[in-house]
């Protein structure tokens, strides 16, 4: 009897904390997910979808993959350029994600994930991204930009 009452009382009390109340905290948490989980999280509800679309979340994800060391390119500068080229979400979707999927499937990146390799990966993904952005500039939807097809990331087809 007593336990049931206590149980009822606990159910009536407010839950204490709802993550949906604090979008910034949610963003912090989602920023620690990997790409696929983040996309899945975006499908949960409207709030989560909105938070998942924040570029900062994807920026954190990209930087984790290609952790640009402090000695490498200037950090704020990178953000400006990436934003101008289309944003981190697109960078991840078009370049970083497929790149790391491909590298992981070829298997040999365990011992190799040194800072140097990560820096090379960062440069490469930015280069590829800029080419992709360049291709999008003139076509205006007539022709699919195709320089990244070799990464196997079919654009919006599946």
């Amino acid at each position: 009897m007593g336990e049931a009452e206590k149980h009822n009382v606990e159910q009536e009390k407010p839950c204490g904390y709802n993550i949906n109340d604090n979008a910034d905290l949610l963003a912090e948490i989602l920023a620690r997910l990997d790409g696929r989980s983040l996309c899945a999280a975006a499908c949960v509800c409207r709030l989560w979808g909105a938070v998942s679309r924040k570029d900062a979340v994807w920026e954190a994800l990209c930087n984790r993959h290609v952790s640009s060391s402090a000695t490498d390119s200037s950090f704020p500068g990178t953000r400006t350029v990436v934003a101008a080229l289309g944003g981190y979400r697109r960078l991840y979707r078009r370049c970083v994600g497929p790149m790391f999927d491909r590298l992981a499937s070829s298997g040999d990146h365990g011992p190799q994930s040194s800072a140097v390799a990560a820096a090379a990966a960062a440069r490469l993904s930015l280069s590829l991204f800029s080419i992709d952005c360049y291709e999008r500039l003139s076509v205006g939807g007539l022709q699919r930009p195709s320089s990244l097809l070799f990464l196997g990331s079919a654009v919006d087809v599946t």
Binding site: V81, A120, R123, L124, L126, S127, Y134, L137, S147, F150
Partner: protein, 574 residues
């Protein structure tokens, strides 16, 4: 189960090895001794029958071991209620085995003995019913018909044994080939061909070389005859080898018949741009070229506030977004970036050159890089004068040439003029990407042989491309390379612009023109290696360092080389 190849030589004897599943040993190349040797092992074969027996052994081998799909059914069939025949009477044993194994439906109203095609004999008796070897689709068509009828989709195809026995009297080699030529590839007969694909591949290469030699000796009749055989042999191959053979055969045909590709320059230049885009997408060669050159240019530009890049062949400008992005992210901020793009005149007067500039300017604007663009139209690079490029003292100049320099070798003296123009611009760096092959020196036959190896390797590397869009890319890339092949083989004199030279030869030229090499750093190497790791099916690509230059190759064969140069100071020798 490894099959060693049977080779028939004249006179009906057999040299070579018999399949290893029986307890047989290598045969010597004697005629009368055959029977006794086999008899010593316990097998009774008539000497006159040897050719036939050997061939049917081969058939049997392929029937048993040829198709992976049929393996299980076959082996279980063999293992279970098989009647075992006495193998000592080989001819009959083979017939029985073959008739058992060939019970699965392989409809072949006619069958032929194409195996012993040999072509070092005059071929007047070839009939005229062989389809036109000019048509590059020819090989594909005949191949599809054969494949459509045979269930065995791998290279080996079997023929029914019943009809083969009717042609036993081991005929002379000459008439075998005549039979083949006349009946094999007629388009109405669904011919199922038994060909040992690997050996046919070797013979195909020999045929191509023999044809080239005939062309060199100006023996055009023989060359024409050999061409027909090339077409037949090529249809038995799969994949890259067939396509390469097709392009080389077409080029040889053009050379023999003096058919120059119709120079419709409007269609031509638009088409080659499209082809080059597909080549860019499907394989890493152009991307490798761009990335390694950009890295060298980026490093040479460090510290300069104003930079100027002169691109000898701007095409679609795909190289420059990445450089602009890297300049934008440079510690200390981007320099002001000036680009001069040079291109041949566009026949329809479209301002493609300007459009490239607009696109690049748009991109530069979004990433906040000061950008200036100038387009120069030049029929030939040698017409460039330093004043046209309007470079001033305070800016760092880089010159970029991707697959452009070799075209100048068609006119004697042109390359020296261009290099002296380059020197007078005093560039900080000149990046040169060229094919790593010697397609310019020596006789026609040497050139042919070299280019055959080179393009076979290139086509092999393209085979890994998969997927729907990838297929189209692959085909277009092959057409793109096919045009180069045509130029290398079929043209001469000033028309032959694809005059590739090796890195070593370019080193000599550049040193002679007063340039000294600049080492491409490890950053370029790492970026290139990572780029290659991204190409699916690209395990065969190799980046190698060659005395400060980088080469990209397929397995052991380097195919393109990037090098960087700067002006040697006075007093430095090359």
């Amino acid at each position: 189960m490894k099959t060693e190849h049977l080779e028939s030589c004249r006179g009906g004897g057999i040299g070579g090895f018999l399949p290893s599943k029986g307890k047989m040993m290598a045969m010597e190349e004697t005629d009368a001794g055959m029977d006794e040797q086999l008899a010593a092992l316990g097998y009774k074969v008539r000497a006159s029958d040897m050719a036939n027996v050997a061939q049917r052994l081969e058939q049997l081998d392929m029937a048993i071991g040829g198709s992976a799909a049929q393996d299980d059914a076959l082996l279980s069939h063999l293992a279970s209620d098989t009647v075992h025949y006495n193998p000592s009477d080989i001819s009959n044993w083979l017939e029985n085995m073959l008739s058992e194994l060939n019970a699965p439906p392989i409809p072949a109203p006619t069958a032929t003995h194409p195996k012993s095609i040999s072509f070092d004999f005059p071929s007047e008796n070839l009939s005229s019913s062989v389809p036109n070897p000019f048509d590059p689709d020819y090989c594909l068509r005949s191949d599809y018909q054969v494949e459509g009828r045979s269930r065995n989709r791998k290279r080996m195809r079997t023929s029914s044994s019943s009809s083969s026995t009717s042609r036993t009297a081991a005929p002379a080699i000459e008439s075998i080939s005549a039979v083949v030529a006349a009946t094999e590839v007629s388009s109405t007969n669904p011919v199922v061909v038994m060909v040992d694909s690997q050996e046919a591949g070797i013979r195909l290469v020999h045929a191509l070389l023999a044809c080239a030699e005939a062309v060199q000796q100006e023996n055009y009749k023989a060359a024409d005859a050999i061409l027909k055989q090339i077409s037949i042999l090529a249809s038995s191959q799969a994949g890259a080898m067939r396509k390469v053979a097709g392009y080389f055969a077409e080029a040889l045909a053009r050379r023999i018949y003096r058919l120059h590709p119709t120079q419709d320059s409007f269609f031509d230049s638009a088409f080659s741009d499209i082809l080059e885009m597909h080549f860019y997408e499907s394989c890493p060669y152009l991307k490798f070229a761009h990335f390694t050159a950009n890295q060298a240019i980026l490093e040479a530009f460090s510290g300069f506030r104003r930079v100027h890049v002169i691109d000898f062949g701007i095409k679609q400008g795909m190289q420059w977004p990445a450089l602009m992005q890297a300049l934008a992210l440079r510690p200390g901020g981007p320099p002001s970036f000036r680009l001069t793009g040079i291109s041949p005149p566009s026949p329809d007067n479209s301002n493609a050159l300007q459009q490239v500039g607009w696109k690049l300017a748009q991109l530069a604007d979004t990433i906040h890089v000061n950008f200036e663009y100038r387009g120069l139209v030049a029929n030939n690079l040698v017409d460039l004068e330093p004043f046209m490029l309007e470079s001033d003292e305070s800016e760092a100049v880089a010159i970029n040439s991707v697959f452009e320099l070799h075209n100048l070798l068609a006119r004697p003296g042109a390359i020296e003029i261009l290099l002296s123009t380059v020197r007078s611009l005093r560039p900080r760096i000149m990046t040169v990407v060229e094919q790593e092959a010697n397609h310019n020196a020596g006789s026609f036959l040497e050139r042919f042989t070299e280019s055959l190896h080179y393009y076979s390797t290139m086509f092999d590397s393209l085979e890994g491309v998969a997927g729907g869009e990838g297929q189209q890319d692959q085909v277009m890339s092959e057409v793109f390379l096919g045009r180069q092949i045509c130029n290398v083989v079929a043209c001469e004199g000033p028309e032959r612009t694809e005059r590739h030279e090796t890195l070593a030869q370019w080193r000599v030229r550049m040193n002679g023109a007063g340039m000294r090499p600049v080492n491409l750093g490890s950053n370029a190497f790492k970026q290139a290696s990572m780029l290659l790791a991204l190409f699916a099916g690209g395990d065969g690509y190799r980046v190698e360092e060659n005395e400060g230059c980088l080469t990209l190759g397929w397995h052991t064969r380097p195919l393109i080389a990037t090098s960087a140069w700067c002006v040697a100071a006075a007093g430095e020798s090359g």
